[in-house]
């Protein structure tokens, strides 16, 4: 089974006070540490698990600069067979352009499955997987929490709202956007790092991909990025449990939450 997995390098933002940059359309990223997008990490692990079980190759793809290759080397170190970096040059990227670039490379590869993360930790758009499937004309499923291939199809589990799971079958080739928790991503080993150095890591330019100007035109235009205004209204209710409960009920009723 041949699998293509799309990965993105994202800034670690959990413990950082983000600041808006001079353009007012992005955040300052200079001082941020970067890691592989969490969702993609699960997608890589799933690709490697399937490759180990069913054979074939796992190919990791990213779009970015040479610095972004670290997520590809990481994928190679945990078991991917080869990697491709698409160098976007100074191209402006949004979910649409990203999905077009990925499609431009993947359409010429042999694959049964394309895996992406559900979304990326930086902009949380969650669009690339589905758009990529559309560009490639693939059946697709989003927020996948289980994959069991059998013949030319796979039984998949999809997470629905409200804690429900849906089980269905999907024919190959297909695109699945992978949810966190589907597996337990392995650690990178020293042996893996050694092997990764010997595996193929190909770099492609946008010009290599035969894309039209329309393909490379962003559909999302960011007007402004701003921090949510600090709001007031926090209130600490004091007293014993029954007093507190009564006060909460009074407020909820007053606000129209409880009738």
């Amino acid at each position: 089974m041949n699998i293509v997995v799309c990965v993105k390098r994202v800034p670690l933002t959990q413990e950082v006070d983000l600041e808006i940059d001079g353009t007012g359309k992005d955040v300052k990223k200079d001082a941020l540490a970067y890691v592989v997008n969490d969702w993609d990490n699960y997608a890589i692990e799933e690709a490697v698990l399937l490759q180990e079980k069913f054979g074939g190759t796992a190919t990791a793809i990213t779009i970015g600069t040479e610095d972004d290759e670290e997520v590809l080397r990481r994928a190679l170190a945990v078991g991917a067979d080869r990697a491709i970096r698409i160098d976007p040059g100074d191209l402006e990227l949004d979910g649409f352009v990203i999905s077009k670039l990925l499609a431009g490379v993947i359409k010429d590869l042999e694959y049964d499955l394309v895996l992406t993360g559900v979304q990326a930790d930086d902009d949380n758009c969650g669009m690339v997987g589905i758009m990529l499937a559309e560009h490639l004309g693939l059946s697709h499923a989003a927020v996948v929490t289980g994959v069991e291939p059998e013949g030319d199809e796979a039984t998949i589990k999809v997470e629905l709202e409200g804690g429900m799971d849906e089980v269905s079958k999907i024919p190959f080739p297909a695109l699945l956007s992978i949810q966190t928790g589907i597996n337990e991503p392995r650690y990178v080993s020293i042996m893996g790092i050694r092997k990764a150095g010997k595996k193929e890591l190909k770099v492609l330019e946008v010009a290599d991909l035969n894309l039209t100007e329309d393909d490379l035109t962003p559909r999302t235009v960011v007007e402004e990025v701003f921090l949510p205004p600090e709001t007031e209204g926090a209130e600490i209710i004091e007293g014993d449990a029954s007093t507190v409960a009564e006060e909460i009920i009074r407020i909820l009723t007053e606000k129209g939450v409880m009738v």
């Binding site: 670290e70 080397r73 170190a77 650690y187 990178v188 080993s189 020293i190 790092i193 050694r194």
Partner: protein
């Protein structure tokens, strides 16, 4: 001149940090409080190849240098010194085997260390011989085809866990040169007459095993001599010129952790209507810590890189060891100070760092001995 690490080295750092962050934080306080450790973490680290990366590929190591071993030490210690030491000290002595051991000795021991089948230790210090190692009186006498060893050793890392202990023994007490009286002998710890007693009550690195050893008519084959008879002292100095490197890395890792804790705390904690980080007294402390850490790291990078290039600069290594250890002690002290009363409680990592730091100025040569070495290199005496 190029100050960048190669991609493989960058990836090693990330892999080590990821493993440490995934495995250490949840258990660090428990191990520290109970002076305990879970050997499964060591096994896992071996499976992932973090243990003994400097060991030759011929003996199942990764064949990297001491520099890469340092990078892993730094990352492990930046997450938790005690656990870092418990895992990475398990090859302590393999440096001597690698440099001076026979083919049979290397083939027997080294692959076991890398794969997590054995732990080793090296016993040097004695009740009456510390910085003056030539005073060691644990004696090995040749009797037929065997060495018979009698004596006792103090503060032996992994004494209670090791499958093999490399022992610094007096073999030629009558030799006129103090530096030609000792030899290293490899002792399997299941040999009758070997006894270890775990030492409790250490100030820091409490997840790491330390023991008092006694040898009572311990007999091993003459082939268990490692290196050459009478050259134990110079072999020991060669050993320290490797192991001191990773002590520097441990110091830098620990100091980094102290800085991280300080940054986090001082940006949150408010006094006089502002965060501690907004006061210049805090800012200067942070600036000093960051600068000292960087200086110590550059010093040990150069020392370790030189060793891997085959250039052993005894003085430079001693400078790096003294400077980084003292720097780590100072950083952990400042970090605790910035935490105020919270830093006095063991629920705060900074308290553990404060206690863990002190060993860095003691083991593998006290800072006073390091300064002695540096001064000799400078003065030529």
């Amino acid at each position: 001149m190029d100050f960048t690490l190669n991609k493989e080295q960058q990836d090693i750092i990330k892999a080590a940090r990821e493993f440490a962050l995934g495995e250490f934080p949840d258990v660090a306080q428990e191990f520290d409080r109970n002076e305990s450790f879970d050997l499964n973490i060591w096994k896992k680290a071996c499976e992932l190849g973090f243990v003994g990366v400097f060991i030759d590929e011929k003996y199942d190591g990764a064949g990297y240098g001491f520099f890469e071993h340092c990078l892993i030490n730094e990352e492990f210690w930046a997450v938790d010194p005690g656990i870092g030491q418990a895992i990475l000290s398990t090859t302590f002595g393999s440096e001597i085997l690698g440099l001076f051991g026979s083919e049979e000795q290397k083939e027997l021991v080294l692959p076991q260390l890398v794969s997590g089948r054995a732990i080793m230790g090296t016993a040097i210090t004695e009740p009456d011989a510390g910085s003056d190692v030539t005073g060691a009186v644990t004696t090995a006498v040749k009797e037929g085809n065997e060495w018979m060893i009698n004596g006792s050793k103090m503060f032996a890392t992994n004494g209670d866990l090791a499958k093999y202990i490399l022992v610094f023994c007096l073999t030629d007490p009558e030799n006129p040169s103090r530096h030609a009286r000792h030899s290293f002998i490899l002792i399997p710890t299941d040999t009758p007459g070997y006894e270890s007693t775990k030492i409790y009550g250490k100030l820091g690195i409490r997840a790491s095993d330390t023991a008092e050893l006694s040898f009572n008519n311990v007999r091993v084959p003459v082939e268990n001599l490692v290196g050459r008879e009478g050259e134990g002292f110079s072999e020991l100095m060669s050993f320290f010129n490797r192991t001191r490197l990773h002590i520097c890395a441990q110091a830098v890792g620990l100091a980094r952790a102290a800085l991280e804790e300080s940054v986090r705390h001082t940006k949150q904690r408010r006094q006089f209507g502002a965060t501690l980080a907004s006061f210049q007294v805090t800012q200067f402390k942070i600036a000093e810590m960051a600068t000292h850490i960087r200086a110590a790291r550059n010093l040990y990078y150069e020392a370790a890189w030189s060793v891997d290039q085959g250039k052993i600069d005894h003085g430079l290594i001693a400078m790096a060891k003294w400077f980084s250890a003292e720097m780590a002690v100072r950083c952990s002290d400042e970090a605790l100070q910035m935490h105020g009363g919270y830093g006095f409680i063991d629920e705060y990592k900074v308290q553990r760092l404060y206690r863990d730091a002190k060993i860095l100025e003691l083991y593998e040569g006290t800072k006073e001995m390091e300064k002695t070495i540096v001064s000799r290199a400078v003065l030529g005496i």
